[in-house]
């Protein structure tokens, strides 16, 4: 037997230590995994995830500590005061709940992180020392103040690391599982370090028999039972979380697909609609030269039938036939390039060509609304892009300008189209002298289904923006005192 006033020398069962570290790692993984679920959920579901997660995590942390204590063998019988043991479990669950709450919030600043880690660290340290206090053995427990302080500081520090990791890893990415595993290992080891520092802070001085009321002896069977139940609870939590995550990712993926499909459809619809609006203008554009050609041709036939003496007039008529033929052919090739179907293609093109093609098509529409067009194009602006899509964006912006100026009275209706070089690409501006827009409208016009037109459906600008963004550029609006300015950029490289 050991003499009185001598400290008891304990020894560690390293198998048990290893198991405790394993539980710490698994519990940490569960914590990291569940944070993401709590973050993604709302309302009651969030509360359910928060409480379920806190219970699983709390049991895990608590089991790790308890396991760690069981790994410590003293040469005297040790029993445990079970109400205190339950109290330590409660502390663990509460600390976990708090940690999950902090890490799953929308934002986490340094103040929240520090406050959270202090509370969580205090909780873990509390759990540890409460659990120690549950020990019933024929010895007095003495604590080394230095090591106790160190263990508390370590608990706070590791809580901070844990919170930051959980916050950073809660989004789903391709590498989130391996990263979570790595972080969980770091956290698990850290929790264990804290625990064993706390254990080292205690020394046991032989004393008389303890008060054994409400104390239980933990058999090795019960000890293993705790580990197994703990692991089952944690694994169940992780499994549920992963199933739910997959289901919600599937729902998200489907919603994404549906959205993309709808947008593609709308792109086609607005293109068709824009084409419909343009069809009248185009018919006019083609039929004008054809009318002149046919009429001049008929005139020539009549002149020739009558003897063809007026050669000068005949020559003029034929020259006009040739000119109008070229004019009609130019219109047709512009339409053909507009109608080219198929997947968006990226080709090197001059943005000024695109602008000129569109203004050529829209010319009569402008004239009809008595709008004067000025273009200010910087030479040689090559970009990579889809010609048809960029034309669509420009047509949309110009049509909007025309609509805005259609009822304008009292000042000139002016449309300015500018192109300029930028450090990383090309800037195109479409500016009108219409009534302009309120700043709050300028913020909203790119939203789908937002429209200021009586007959509009509010998709034009939203689609234009997604086209420009798919080119790697940006499209935005500027409200001017007298009019509106739309600007977009297209990068030179993909």
């Amino acid at each position: 037997m050991i003499s009185a006033s001598a400290a008891l020398t304990g020894s560690y069962d390293y198998n048990e230590v290893a198991r405790s570290v394993l539980i710490a790692i698994v519990a940490s993984y569960a914590a990291l995994d569940l944070t993401g679920r709590v973050t993604a959920a709302r309302g009651r579901v969030r509360l359910a995830w928060l409480s379920g997660g806190a219970i699983a995590m709390g049991i895990g942390i608590w089991a790790m500590h308890f396991k760690g204590m069981m790994a410590f063998h003293l040469p005297v019988p040790v029993e445990y005061h079970w109400p205190t043991v339950l109290a330590s479990l409660l502390v663990a669950v509460l600390a976990s709940a708090f940690a999950l709450y902090v890490a799953s919030r929308h934002k986490m600043g340094w103040r929240e992180a520090f406050a959270g880690s202090v509370i969580m660290g205090a909780g873990i340290a509390g759990l540890h020392y409460i659990a120690m206090a549950a020990m019933r053995l024929p010895a007095n427990t003495r604590y080394s103040p230095l090591l106790v302080t160190a263990s508390i500081l370590l608990a706070i520090l590791f809580s901070l690391i844990g919170l930051l990791m959980a916050f950073g890893l809660r989004e789903e990415t391709r590498w989130s599982v391996p990263r979570r595993l790595g972080s969980a290992t770091v956290m698990g080891v850290a929790i264990s370090v804290m625990h064993y520092t706390g254990m080292a802070a205690a020394s046991f001085i032989f004393a008389s028999s303890p008060n054994l009321s409400h104390a239980v002896n933990i058999s090795s069977l019960a000890n293993n039972g705790i580990s197994i139940v703990t692991l089952v609870v944690i694994v169940a939590a992780i499994t549920t979380s992963s199933v739910e995550r997959r289901a919600s990712a599937e729902v998200e993926r489907r919603a994404d697909e549906a959205l993309q499909e709808a947008q593609a459809k709308l792109t086609r619809v607005t293109r068709v609609q824009a084409m419909g609006e343009l069809a009248a203008a185009i018919a006019h554009e083609v039929n004008q030269p054809l009318t002149a050609i046919v009429t001049n041709g008929n005139f020539c036939l009549r002149e020739l039938a009558a003897g063809g003496r007026n050669l000068e007039e005949l020559r003029e008529a034929i020259a006009e036939i040739v000119n109008d033929g070229a004019r009609a052919s130019a219109v047709i090739s512009r339409i053909r390039s507009l109608l080219v179907k198929g997947a968006p293609e990226r080709a090197e093109l001059d943005i000024n060509e695109v602008i000129q093609e569109v203004t050529g098509l829209i010319r009569s529409e402008l004239a009809r609304n008595r709008i004067s067009l000025r273009t200010d194009l910087t030479a040689d602006l090559r970009v990579r892009g889809d010609r048809v899509q960029l034309q669509q964006v420009l047509i949309n912006l110009i049509m909007n300008s025309i609509d805005a100026m259609r009822t304008l009275a009292g000042r000139p209706r002016k449309l300015l189209i500018k192109s300029a070089k930028q450090s990383d690409g090309v800037l195109v501006q479409v500016q009108d002298s219409g009534p302009g827009m309120e700043p709050e409208v300028a913020d909203r016009i790119f939203e789908p289904f937002f429209t200021t037109k009586a007959e509009g459906i509010g998709m034009g600008l939203s689609i234009s923006r997604s086209i420009i963004e798919s080119h790697g550029g940006r499209l935005w609006a500027v409200a001017l005192p007298n009019g509106a300015l739309f600007e977009f950029t297209v990068p030179t490289q993909d």
């Binding site: 009429t295 009558a306 006009e320 009809r368």
Partner: protein
């Protein structure tokens, strides 16, 4: 008056089309005047001659159909031939209902346009002739004395001299003199002719 040289007005915003139409119409010996917009046409001084208007539907600032209504509202009654690059049925119906002579789709057959122009000029000529006749009749009516103007409606409603004399309180001989004067002044050689003339200038029968 009716002998004045007929003239065709053309309003189209495309100069090339305008010139071609002028050549075509000029080749059949008609006078042509070209306008780029409805406004230009309204501000021009139009000669007093049989005329018609070849009008594009799609014009800068105003549609040809609206311009047709504007002309009618301004009491300018000129026969209109519409030409359009993209006519549809409602448009055609509207134009014809408002009195258009023809509605041609660009590019049109030269003969169709020339035929339409001839119909339109003929219509304008007839209308101008009618207007001129009425103007003459009104002038003649103006030359009647107040007493003769009183007697005229009674004559055309078929009353005998005796009855007219009783109606206006004078002698039958005086009525006979008035009657002879007004027949002469109005240029009517019979009672039937006088009735027709009176009807044209809207002098009603006062008696059933």
């Amino acid at each position: 008056m009716a002998d004045a040289e007929p003239i065709v007005f053309v309003i189209d915003d495309d100069p090339s089309v305008r010139r071609a139409i002028r050549r075509l119409i000029g080749s059949v010996g008609l006078q042509v005047e070209l306008f780029g917009s409805a406004r230009e046409f309204l501000h021009s001084r139009r000669p007093d001659a049989p005329s018609c208007l070849v009008l594009d539907i799609r014009l800068p600032g105003i549609s040809g159909l609206d311009f047709q209504c504007e002309l009618a509202a301004a009491n300018i009654h000129i026969p209109i031939i519409f030409i359009t690059a993209h006519g549809d049925i409602p448009m055609t119906v509207r134009a014809m209902k408002a009195g258009a002579v023809e509605f041609l789709t660009k590019p049109f057959h030269d003969q169709d346009l020339l035929d339409a122009i001839h119909v339109a000029l003929e219509r304008d000529r007839a209308k101008r002739k009618q207007e001129a006749e009425i103007a003459t009749l009104l002038q003649r009516w103006e030359s009647l004395t107040p007493r003769e103007r009183e007697v005229l409606p009674l004559v055309v409603s078929g009353l005998l001299n005796k009855q007219i004399a009783a109606e206006i309180g004078t002698s039958e001989t005086t009525v006979k003199v008035h009657r002879g004067q007004l027949m002469r002044k109005m240029g009517a050689d019979s009672l039937a002719a006088l009735v027709r003339l009176a009807e044209r200038i809207g002098i009603p029968n006062t008696k059933p």
